[in-house]
């Protein structure tokens, strides 16, 4: 049971959250074309290491928070609210 640091509720067990993967992809403008939407929906960096991702605190404050988590070690470095930015980089 991982701990996800919710910026609003504090450290919470992962089963209070739903996962939604890569938070670095941005929904394109509606007229950006098929390729842009294809990249948004399908292609992924899928890094081995730090990964910025969406977690929804569905059983808590119902915010879609951004979490920077290491996919190799499962360590969590930072989190931010839905419209807030994560820190620039994590070593």
């Amino acid at each position: 049971m991982h701990l996800i640091p919710c910026p609003y509720c504090g450290q919470r067990p992962q089963d209070e959250f739903h996962y939604r993967g890569d938070a670095t992809v941005k929904r394109p403008a509606p007229d950006a074309g098929e390729q842009a939407f294809y990249d948004y929906v399908y292609t992924r960096e899928n890094p081995r290491g730090w990964h910025d991702e969406w977690w929804h605190h569905y059983a808590g404050c119902r915010q879609w928070i951004k979490v920077r988590r290491n996919t190799l070690t499962h360590a969590v470095a930072a989190s931010a609210g839905p419209a807030d930015a994560l820190p620039e980089a994590t070593p």
Binding site: M1, Q14, E34, N46, H51, T71, H74
Partner: protein, 425 residues
């Protein structure tokens, strides 16, 4: 389509087994050599798992291409090939999948003779249970699709399920069993033996299996691949095939490609060995749970993904709790059995839960991946189709639909309709 197996040195036979036992087993040779890499090969296969080794075997045995190296960052067969629940089946509903997996199953059926290695392929049957009328209809759609394509499938009712698997709680309060879809030709095989058998067979035909050789780059020249950088130096190649499962995205990045793939964690479990209890493979449509019993007697079982991107082979407790709950709900007599070990593998999940075996925009570079939960059963079929694709620079009909472009074109092969959400598949 299969080439006749060439006579291979050091064949296993009853006579050989007897004479060796009389001489204290001193005469057995290594199952595969430990060669130094040559400067260049016709084909390099990246990834010494089941798929990579099978590809090498079929390149050599079917296409006569023997100047082949399989490069593996560690010892062979310790990735997903050595960490699965050993299930073999072809009970898919969408024709693109059924075609491919059925060919794979056919190869399984002759694999021991082809490899001269007992991979303990055991067609004990795979039984998928369903728990409602609508699940029955969806399952029947799949079973009928299989039958229309000439694949064996039977629909069992409650009583037939009860007779076949008396240990199942038919009247589970939340998931009553309505019936099941049985594929008798499905079953299990001994996972490590598959790796070793392909390795030995490929090696005997001259394939170099190079362990502890990690690929660090894919060298290209003018839109064409010319070899791989490795921890043991550059190795030249006319063609490079990548079959690295959970590490697919990392290799793609080396080639400047970005794929519709995420790496996710899947756990599996084995109980202490007990006397025979579960004869076939049983999967439960509810609770996401599948189980079989190994020849050694352990109950081997698994369930869903852990649910987040991961390259760590460390399992987590929420899935354990859920899965054990499902186990006891479905098979109440499992409660007092002890789980002995758990392990985890990294699944290369695609955005529609189906794989790809295909060419890439780079000449001479081929990718084989996106196996999601289902890589083990695909092993011979994947190797065979990948070998065909590499040898001919064009896919076989069996894998023609298993492309990456299908996502761009909106031709997803999404058996469960889960959509582009790998964590939820």
């Amino acid at each position: 389509m299969l080439a006749r197996p060439e006579p291979i040195a050091d064949r296993y036979s009853a006579w050989r087994l007897l004479t060796e036992s009389l001489s204290s087993n001193r005469g057995w040779k290594p199952a595969w050599r430990k060669p130094e890499p040559k400067p260049a090969y016709d084909v390099i296969i990246v990834g010494g798992g089941g798929h990579g080794l099978a590809t090498a075997h079929y390149l050599a045995s079917v296409h006569g291409i023997t100047n082949v190296a399989v490069v593996e960052k560690g010892p062979i067969g310790l990735g997903n090939a050595g960490r699965n629940t050993t299930i073999v089946r072809s009970n898919y509903g969408l024709p693109s999948n059924t075609r491919f997996y059925e060919w794979s199953l056919k190869l399984w059926e002759g694999l021991e003779q082809d490899l001269n290695y007992n991979v303990m392929m055991s067609q004990r049957g795979v039984l998928n249970l369903f728990h409602s009328d609508s699940q029955r209809d969806a399952t029947a759609r799949r079973g009928n699709s299989m039958r229309l394509q000439g694949v064996d499938a039977e629909l069992l009712d409650r009583e037939q399920v009860r007779a076949m698997a008396p240990f199942i709680a038919i009247d589970n309060p939340m998931f009553p069993i309505f019936g099941g879809l049985l594929q008798r030709r499905g079953g299990t095989a001994r996972h490590d033996a598959v790796v070793w058998g392909f390795a030995r067979a490929a090696d005997r035909r001259g394939v170099d299996i190079i362990e502890h050789c990690e690929v660090t780059g894919i060298r290209r020249e003018g839109g064409r691949v010319i070899g791989v950088e490795t921890t043991r130096g550059f190795i030249g190649a006319k063609k490079v095939g990548v079959a690295v499962a959970g590490n697919t995205s990392r290799l793609a990045t080396m080639a400047g490609l970005k794929l519709p793939v995420e790496s996710h964690l899947l756990q599996a479990f084995v109980s202490e060995a007990i006397k025979p209890m579960i004869d076939s493979v049983v999967t439960f449509g509810a609770g996401h749970f599948y189980i079989s019993q190994s020849d050694k007697g352990g109950l081997v079982f698994g369930g869903d993904l852990d649910g987040y991107n991961s390259y760590s082979q460390r399992g987590n407790l929420p899935l354990v709790e859920h899965l054990m709950g499902a186990a006891v709900s479905m098979i109440p007599s499992m409660s007092r059995l002890r789980v002995l070990r758990q392990w985890a593998g990294i699944m290369d999940m695609t955005m529609d839960s189906s794989p790809f075996i295909c060419k890439t925009p780079i000449d001479g570079l081929y990718f084989n991946g996106g196996w999601c939960y289902g890589g083990f059963k695909a092993t011979p079929g994947s190797g065979w189709c990948f070998a065909h694709t590499i040898a001919n620079d064009a896919p076989h009909a069996f894998n023609a639909d298993l492309t990456i472009e299908r996502f761009r074109d909106g031709r997803m092969i999404d058996e469960r309709g889960a959509g582009p959400n790998p964590w939820a598949q």
